[in-house]
């Protein structure tokens, strides 16, 4: 197998850090010159993943899976302790797939870097040099929220993508609020895969209050109960934060101990107070991590949405027939593609996040 064949089949080709662009250019010229296969390189984003450990590996895999939906140059930087090799090592590879309709091989570029010890100091300048010009930059971080995710990179990120589905409760959510403040201050947009995962759930819930039921019962809510899995705890708080911001609920006051297994709160709203209960339990509740949301009004009306097994949600609402509806789960790669699109900038996220942070503060 020639170097070019290795490259377009996805194998990493070691290159001199000084000559990455030149090597890439040369490999592409060779790949497109032999006429065997029509190859197109495409790029709508620079996607930067930096870190180590399991979160880094998952983020790299997710970024690689998403390039078939949003072609991007991936800049994958593994930070390692000193020793065992040069400070900086670099490789390039191509991530190719057949374009819809077949025929043409559509390729995104991957640039891998390993920075050992003090080698990390070279990373910001390298990223600045290697980001495709005039193409936006996204920083993808999984495995917990790093509030310095964008600022430490030394590049002006256009978007930071995190996943509240990875958060471990309150501390991560607070870090996320700090990240939201930091990104807002410098014009970077924050997207959350967990928030996007909640999208269908929020739509189904909203649709319960379309005519004929109408929105009136929302003013009479007396109890809101939410059950979530451990990985969904932060996402659950976001869901409540969204309800609180949309329905004008007042500040949440804890009614007892608030801990890893949830808690209870009292909130004021238009016509009185409502009791909020969040229960966090072990088990599998799908990727969004929500088992059930149940709401009751002072008039005894009930509105509930609950997990009903794989790809199904059960809806129960006073005034509507109970039923199970299809709820296909989007793969994370699709969510990342959405996060890189227009819906990746959702002003509701910031307000929901701020209200969610009150619960866990």
């Amino acid at each position: 197998m020639t170097t070019v064949e290795q490259f377009t089949s996805g194998e990493r080709i070691g290159v001199d850090v000084q000559a990455i662009e030149r090597e890439l250019g040369s490999l592409w010229r060779e790949a497109t010159s032999d006429g065997r296969q029509s190859v197109t390189r495409a790029c709508l984003w620079n996607v930067v993943v930096r870190g180590n450990g399991e979160g880094f590996d998952r983020a790299c895999a997710l970024a690689q899976a998403s390039v078939s939906l949003v072609p991007a140059r991936l800049l994958l930087v593994r930070l390692e302790p000193a020793g065992g090799g040069p400070e900086i090592e670099t490789w390039v590879s191509a991530n190719c797939h057949l374009a819809p309709g077949g025929g043409k091989l559509l390729c995104s570029e991957e640039i891998w870097m390993v920075a050992r010890g003090d080698g990390a100091r070279h990373v910001p300048a390298l990223l600045r040099a290697l980001a495709v010009p005039d193409v936006p930059i996204c920083v993808l971080g999984l495995g917990g929220v790093d509030p310095r995710a964008a600022s430490d990179l030394g590049v002006d990120a256009d978007r930071v993508v995190v996943d509240t589905g990875d958060c471990e409760g309150g501390r991560d959510l607070e870090a996320l609020v700090r990240l939201a403040h930091a990104t807002r201050a410098n014009g970077t947009r924050l997207a959350d895969l967990g928030w996007l995962r909640l999208g269908p759930f929020r739509l189904l819930l909203a649709a319960l209050f379309d005519p004929p039921v109408g929105a009136e019962p929302l003013q009479r809510l007396s109890t809101v109960r939410l059950r979530a899995s451990r990985h969904g705890a932060a996402t659950a708080a976001l869901l409540v934060g969204w309800l609180a911001s949309r329905l004008g609920w007042g500040t949440a006051r804890p009614r007892g101990a608030v801990g890893p297994n949830g808690g209870t709160w009292t909130l004021s709203h238009g016509r009185g107070e409502l009791a909020l209960e969040i229960e966090v339990a072990d088990g599998d509740a799908g990727r969004d991590g929500i088992y059930e949301l149940a709401m009751e009004t002072s008039a005894g009306e009930r509105f509930g949405i609950a997990d009903a097994g794989p790809r199904a949600i059960r809806i129960e609402a006073t005034g509507l027939p109970a039923r199970v509806v299809a709820a296909p789960e989007r793969p994370d790669a699709e969510l990342l593609a959405i996060a890189l699109g227009r819906r990746g900038h959702d002003p509701l996220l910031a307000t929901a996040l701020a209200r969610a942070a009150e619960l866990v503060a």
Binding site: A42, G101, K104, L203, P211, R311, I315, P328
Partner: protein, 516 residues
């Protein structure tokens, strides 16, 4: 008041474009379109979570079919034709339970009353507040009966804008066969519903690239300043089909390519290409601008038809390695038929922007390949600087081509210096391809259009006055052809780009057709 204002949880979810719960009734549900396009589009929308949980489909047609059999047929259709195929077994049961079938004759008022009762049962069982979309997927001859009975049964009534529950009617083309029949149809429609309740569907408008014409023009700063008679030399619009008439001889003999493609699809593309910026993307603002273009198209006088219109018929030839028969050898076609399978037009849009810019439009069956595109051919640079150096000049003009189908995209041709010690200029093309840039396949046109109708967005549907304006312009050509009687029409070999007369149409102006 919109649904977003009625429901605080809906606010700011507009991007999600989730319609209110509603039922779509498909008249002519046993036909091919339902199985191949409509229900597969609904299935793909459901997979993409773009339908509300309380959505129902009711097929209505003459043949008695049990619900279960109808669902099985629709499942098969989705498996074969849905963009999101094959059908996901875990999703299908909940989608199937929202599909129903109601037997009835289109001219039987009692059948509509029975349909109304069935719809009320479905509303109650599924929590739908009476919102309804009636899709008329039937031959034009059935449309008057259906409209009359929808009105008489009270299933469709005149409604103010934003009325709830809503009643909307989707009408499939053809919208008449000439100006007179189009007016009659518009009157029939107006007798039961307001214009804003009517959604005349032309699937071309649901195509991503057609919509992108507006985005290209009005969301970018660089194109619109060039989009006028100061810079554009002429405009070429091509709608080519590689297929012949595929057994539709009886239909095509009555229609011809002018009715089949030009009056609807291609004139919509002309409108979007030539229109002024609308004041908003709202349905009426957009359609106001489109209809102005159709009204600004300079009418051809009877003695100008031969000079500006070429019609032709394909003869036997070869397309994609297969021998195809000539048009007159097709079943259902008269041996002495003069029906056109190809037409080329030269016309002007008499307004400030396009004064003096010829539009050349061609449409044909039996062409070498299927392609629809718009090309703006720009004027040459005012001064040929490099010619004075004695070097090879750029002979080809700059062209901005918008490919509507297939391989949707945009290309810009310009001259570039050939690398080397001499100043040789060669045309190169800068290409944007949807498939390359966005990876994912665009949604089917029917997905977009059905969703828009359920959302009450008529922007991509045709208004009654647009239909009449286009027939008014086309009508003069048909009139002239009728007056010419059985005069023979030019021919072209199937698999070619049309007759020599069509080339001459441009050559007289010192121009030539693009090779799309």
């Amino acid at each position: 008041m919109g649904i977003d204002e009625l429901n605080p949880l809906r606010a700011d979810l507009a991007d999600e474009r989730l319609p209110e719960p509603c039922t779509m009734v498909i008249f002519g549900a046993s036909g091919d379109l339902t199985k191949r396009k409509l229900v597969p589009a609904i299935y793909s929308l459901a997979v993409d979570r773009l339908l509300p949980p309380s959505f129902a489909v009711v097929g209505f047609a003459r043949r008695p079919i049990p619900d279960e059999d109808f669902r099985a047929q629709m499942r098969e259709g989705c498996d074969r034709h849905a963009r999101r195929r094959p059908v996901d077994d875990r999703l299908w049961p909940s989608i199937a339970q929202s599909i129903f079938y109601q037997q009835g004759n289109f001219d039987d008022l009692a059948a509509y009353r029975a349909l109304g009762e069935r719809l009320e049962q479905i509303d109650e069982a599924r929590g739908i507040a009476g919102n309804r979309v009636f899709y008329l997927s039937v031959p034009p001859t059935n449309v008057p009966d259906i409209l009359r009975n929808l009105g008489a049964s009270g299933l469709v009534t005149r409604q103010p804008r934003d009325a709830r529950p809503f009643q909307r009617v989707i009408v499939e083309k053809p919208f008449g066969v000439d100006l007179e029949t189009a007016r009659v149809l518009n009157q029939q429609v107006a007798s039961v519903a307001e214009e804003h309740q009517i959604y005349r569907i032309d699937h071309y408008l649901g195509k991503e690239t057609v919509q992108n014409l507006m985005v290209l023009r009005f969301a970018n700063g660089i194109f619109e300043p060039l989009w006028n008679n100061h810079f554009v030399d002429h405009v070429q619009i091509t709608g080519a089909e590689s297929l012949g008439i595929e057994g539709r001889g009886n239909y095509f003999e009555q229609a011809g390519i002018l009715r089949d493609m030009v009056q609807n699809h291609l004139f919509q593309i002309v409108s979007l290409t030539a229109m002024e910026p609308p004041i908003s993307t709202g349905a009426d603002d957009l359609r106001d601008e489109k209809v102005k273009v159709l009204k600004a198209m300079r009418p051809l006088a009877e003695n100008e038809i031969d000079e500006n219109v070429v019609r032709a018929q394909y003869t036997a030839g070869s397309i994609a390695g297969k021998q195809v028969p000539g048009y007159r050898a097709e079943p259902g076609v008269a041996a002495d038929s003069v029906t056109e399978t190809y037409v080329a037009l030269r016309f002007f849009v008499d307004n400030w922007r396009w004064a003096g810019v010829p539009f050349y439009l061609r449409a044909g069956k039996g062409m070498p390949k299927k392609v629809t595109e718009v090309a703006l051919v720009f004027k040459r640079a005012p001064h040929r600087l490099f010619a004075r150096l004695g070097v090879t000049e750029l002979d080809e003009p700059n062209v901005l081509a918008i490919r509507i189908q297939p391989d949707e995209g945009i290309s810009l041709r310009f001259g570039s210096k050939v690398p080397g010690p001499t100043t040789e200029i060669h045309p190169v093309s800068m290409e944007f391809r949807y498939a390359s840039s966005f990876g994912a396949e665009p949604p089917e046109a029917y997905e977009r259009l059905l969703l828009d109708c359920a959302l009450g967005d008529a922007s991509l549907f045709i208004r009654g006055d647009e239909v009449e304006a286009s027939w008014q312009w086309i009508g003069r050509i048909h009139q002239a052809w009728r007056a010419a009687g059985g005069r023979s029409v030019p021919t072209y070999e199937a698999g070619s780009w049309g007759p020599p007369e069509a080339d001459a149409l441009l050559e007289r102006d010192g121009r030539r057709w693009r090779r799309p």
